[in-house]
Symmetry: C2
Subunit: 494 residues, 2 copies
Amino acid sequence: YPSKPRLQSKAVLNGVLSRAKVLTIDTMNPTVKKVEYAVRGPIVLRAVELERELSEGMKKPFSEVIKANIGDAHAMGQQPITFFRQVLALCSYPELLNDSTFPEDAKSRARRILQSCGGNSMGSYTASQGIDSVRQDVARYIERRDGGVPCDPDDIYLTTGASDGIVTMLKLLVCGEGATRTGVMISIPQYPLYSAALAELGAVQINYYLNEEKCWSMDISELQRALDEARRHCNPRALCVINPGNPTGQVQSRQCIEDVIRFAANERLLLMADEVYQDNVYAEGCQFHSFKKVLFEMGPEYSDTVELVSFHSTSKCYMGECGFRGGYMEIINMDDEVKAQLTKLVSVRLCPPVPGQALMDLVVNPPQPGEPSHDNFIKERTATLSALAEKAKLTEQVLNTIQGISCNPVQGAMYSFPRITIPEKAIQEAMEPDMFYCMKMLEETGICLVPGSGFGQTDGTYHFRMTILPPTDKLTILLNKVKEFHQKFTQQYS
Amino acid sequence: YPSKPRLQSKAVLNGVLSRAKVLTIDTMNPTVKKVEYAVRGPIVLRAVELERELSEGMKKPFSEVIKANIGDAHAMGQQPITFFRQVLALCSYPELLNDSTFPEDAKSRARRILQSCGGNSMGSYTASQGIDSVRQDVARYIERRDGGVPCDPDDIYLTTGASDGIVTMLKLLVCGEGATRTGVMISIPQYPLYSAALAELGAVQINYYLNEEKCWSMDISELQRALDEARRHCNPRALCVINPGNPTGQVQSRQCIEDVIRFAANERLLLMADEVYQDNVYAEGCQFHSFKKVLFEMGPEYSDTVELVSFHSTSKCYMGECGFRGGYMEIINMDDEVKAQLTKLVSVRLCPPVPGQALMDLVVNPPQPGEPSHDNFIKERTATLSALAEKAKLTEQVLNTIQGISCNPVQGAMYSFPRITIPEKAIQEAMEPDMFYCMKMLEETGICLVPGSGFGQTDGTYHFRMTILPPTDKLTILLNKVKEFHQKFTQQYS
Ligand SMILES: Cc1ncc(COP(=O)(O)O)c(C=O)c1O
Ligand SMILES: Cc1ncc(COP(=O)(O)O)c(C=O)c1O
């Protein structure tokens, strides 16, 4: 190494200079700096701190922090589906296939998954698009769900949670500069993954507002307004819809979905349908309609042309298996060359986690009537979904008894997004009134919510998002604490 | 919906226009198009096709496709570590904690992991940075590995495989335009995740060549040459090193690592050390030296200033658990504000897969002497690593008996990267001579390799990458087939 002495002397010469950091806030990726993600923002950080302080014996006006900020079902006590976990245990440790206490249907499901894995091990990389047999099962699930509309397993991509699929699709779409830069329409309020991904990709976020007066439905005239304005400064190319909605808990009607599809077709927008809450529908008269089914019912003028991507996940519905990071997307009417590029792109990350793929397989192919685990599966699923339906109703009812709070019905998903009246004095005191409100709520009651500003809201209105996930008894206490806090807060600032 | 009639008439007017796809190869993200990933490229696609053709009874000159293209240990028959899989089964289905056939140490490990999960379930989201207790275990592992150099769990980020960590770090680094655009130095040959990520991020790839004559070691003078040239057209900010090396199988000496650190310090480059093969060292006289340990041995002038990020994974070493997508990165001397940005960025994807986090925990905290599973763990680990060492030697030896092929010792990792002589006539016939060679090899022998061009190589030289993972008997057959093929190919084109 003849260059060594030279380098050493250089080190001395550059002594001071070389101590400055390479990577600083001023020299890092500027698009990353623009990313915001309120679901895990300052309130949540403070909640974690408070939990630590409590555990260290510090005195607080509450004995427990209740995290109603994130749709994390198991963390709030929801139990996993026994059958799913049995199969996962069998796949993890195939010795258990000889254990007679496991039901036969769990074993046969595990064998089938393992046979699709290289070396019969979940430790092997899979095809980047996901395991073939899982994609086939997903396709059959979609066909059943959509009353027979055909689904090609080649159009299914397994993902690392729905998050991964959504970011990947947005990534494919982004191009152009200045007035030709890709714009993407997202609902306001939105799930902040969308704004975060668009910021990171440097795409233009086009806000369309959900109609709070009409139970957070979509208005075509509002879509048109947002689109027309956006066309003046960017190139709108995609329209994202979350149905059932996060944070707003609405379930869009079939008519509304048809109108949205027609709008997207007319305006040449690719549709991204975030349908991770497809089993979470509670309100009477509401029903989940997949964008794909409606698209195909509209006939070939639409079903042969409109580009649609739909996302699903193992994280929500009745399973709530967030930690496994399972999910899929179905791509419909995508250009073949683009599809090849998508396949190439996902191959760089090698493959989605195999336990998550296995879990997705179980979700789309649960125990069938006659199989030993069927009855228990139905019992567990029903119990979870009924409890959620009950809590959705309870939440809406109690919140609407509070003066200064008004809450739309929680038709689906896992959240209420009530509108709150914040007294003028508090608004003047705080930079972000709903952040101020939620932070005070946390400090005084231990309840962790996300301020509406984290999702976006009409200027001058204030909201918070609260999950309906705590167990019923805890939720009742929580709602009463919210009531008490709101009354006190209102008094204090009046 | 008063706007509906208007939209319908517009649909008729725009009939033809609305049928053109929104997303085409010409209107998609141009940086995605530039991405290449040879490990899963055309040869692999053809191999999958051949497998299908064989299974359909088509006649081929071989009876089986042997995939020596990817470091996927379990797919090639390597057995998982029993203890790891027992704990994963226990965590997946905690009912098994009552099963007396599971060893107590597996149970206590599972209990500890579950206690760190929300609701005691792997189905909960974890902190975005990863489970606290796992990060603590990682920190203690690093301290043990590096002879006591301190490690702060706050500097550990769990990841979705090492791939995820590497892409995230590169993403943080990218900024500027034109001559100030971030440049990143990568070795040639390289693991193509790096070039793919840089292409996607639009960063400048700066190639430095490993010295094939000196067993793929790093030359400071070559680093300097590459850097000086790059400074004319971009802003070089980081230097990536893979040690032990992929695809080249070398293990860098302590001296070399020290020189590289000094170079990075003098030239103000952030160091990215890809150390996913840290247990895969086979050659006598070779040893794994972590960049962190060497950095701290160089004294505070370096250890207080040089920004270093080190990556590890559950996918390689003796565990080979690729499908679980576990990994971590340690960030050293990173600016606090940047670290906060990193934490925010990873929170958008919610968290790494929990089974992968659990597995990473077991890797850094395996059974201890005295615990019931210890002896078997040591036995299994030793068996796997000895077999790999034996196969590394075998591969080098047989390849070097072939006229026209010369292979550096496979000191570590899981690959040989022999240089092959391709006859002039074949070079003239083919666009990419080594792709042509590997494709012919696949068609004639069923052996699936990756051409050197997929990793980069000095102009006018040709290589292929072959894993050492097939079981010894199969590897012997495979090497003999390579020999036969090479002789035939050479004759045919001479
Ligand atoms: C609307 C919506 N989409 C996507 C996601 C991402 O979920 P995951 O990545 O866990 O599948 C969430 C999570 O809360 C969500 O609410
Ligand atoms: C050098 C190197 N780095 C990173 C990776 C990524 O591995 P994973 O994402 O499975 O941890 C690999 C995989 O082969 C590799 O060889």
